[in-house]
């Protein structure tokens, strides 16, 4: 049951990305192209997601623990540091260039567009480089 719930969550996530248009880099880049072929759809994706997660997370956290685990694994940091902003800035540049972020890139892998097959491995390499160069942090800080 606990395996099925996680599999279901992954499937739901990927289906949501496809249905919403997030898995289409052209649509993502059009959302980001305010002064060109602007397509505001992605604001609705984020809106639809947050409408679910905001009350959902609140309700879930009224419980003392999750169904199949002893504790909630939530990020606890509240401070700001340069890494957060610099990392996010670099992430945004890559997102704009390719129209892919991690979820949609992985969801798109089975569709095997040539661009995806270049983006996804490069993304994994980028993650490994970051993990090797950055100072290690406690694991619960990473989202």
């Amino acid at each position: 049951m606990h395996i099925f719930s996680t599999l279901f969550a992954g499937l739901l996530f990927g289906t949501g990305l496809i249905l919403s248009g997030m898995a289409n880099p052209a649509k993502v880049q059009n959302f980001l192209d305010l002064f060109g072929t602007w397509d505001p759809s992605l604001a609705f994706v984020m809106g639809g997601a947050i409408v679910m997660t905001m009350p959902g997370f609140w309700l879930v956290q009224k419980r003392t623990k999750p169904l199949f685990d002893d504790v909630f694994h939530l990020p606890t940091r509240t401070d700001f540091d340069a890494r957060l902003v610099v990392g996010a800035a670099i992430f945004g540049i890559g997102w704009g260039l390719g129209g892919f972020c991690p979820g949609p890139a992985l969801t798109s892998l089975p569709l095997a567009a040539s661009g995806t097959l270049f983006f996804a491995p490069a993304m994994l390499v980028g993650m490994v480089i970051a993990k090797y160069t950055a100072a290690p942090q406690p694991k619960n800080l990473e989202l």
């Binding site: 969550a9 289409n24 072929t37 169904l67 800035a89 983006f119 980028g126 993650m127 989202l143």
Partner: protein, 144 residues
Amino acid sequence: METEFTPFVSLLGGGLIGLSAVVLLATHGRIAGISGIVSRMLPPTFDKAGLPQGIIFLVGLLLAAPLWIVVTGTAPVQVVSKNELLLVAAGLLVGFGSVIGNGCTSGHGVCGISRGSARSIAATMTFMATAFVTVFVLRHVVGG
């Protein structure tokens, strides 16, 4: 290239993404941040406790497109750039930036904002801003 404005299906798709995040938190107490789930599986440090659920979640994610094709009979609409060099650069930046910045569109943009995390709100505003500027430069300065 223009894409059709799809407020209804985008809202619905977003709802599924949100529901997925709620399911993952309710069952395993974990945040549905894709960059975190993936990067924790990569060297040099592994998060052994979260590894099995992470792998299962990714299997579900990878099954979504094949299942979509089986159910609907059509492949998801997708236009990916054929500029390989650009996509390699984009991939490196997305991977590197998401680990340094502790999250991506899902972890910061959806889950973090919903938890009222000031770090996630700052990160989301930052990556939105640089993404808007990047697409502006890519399409209107460098040329379409």
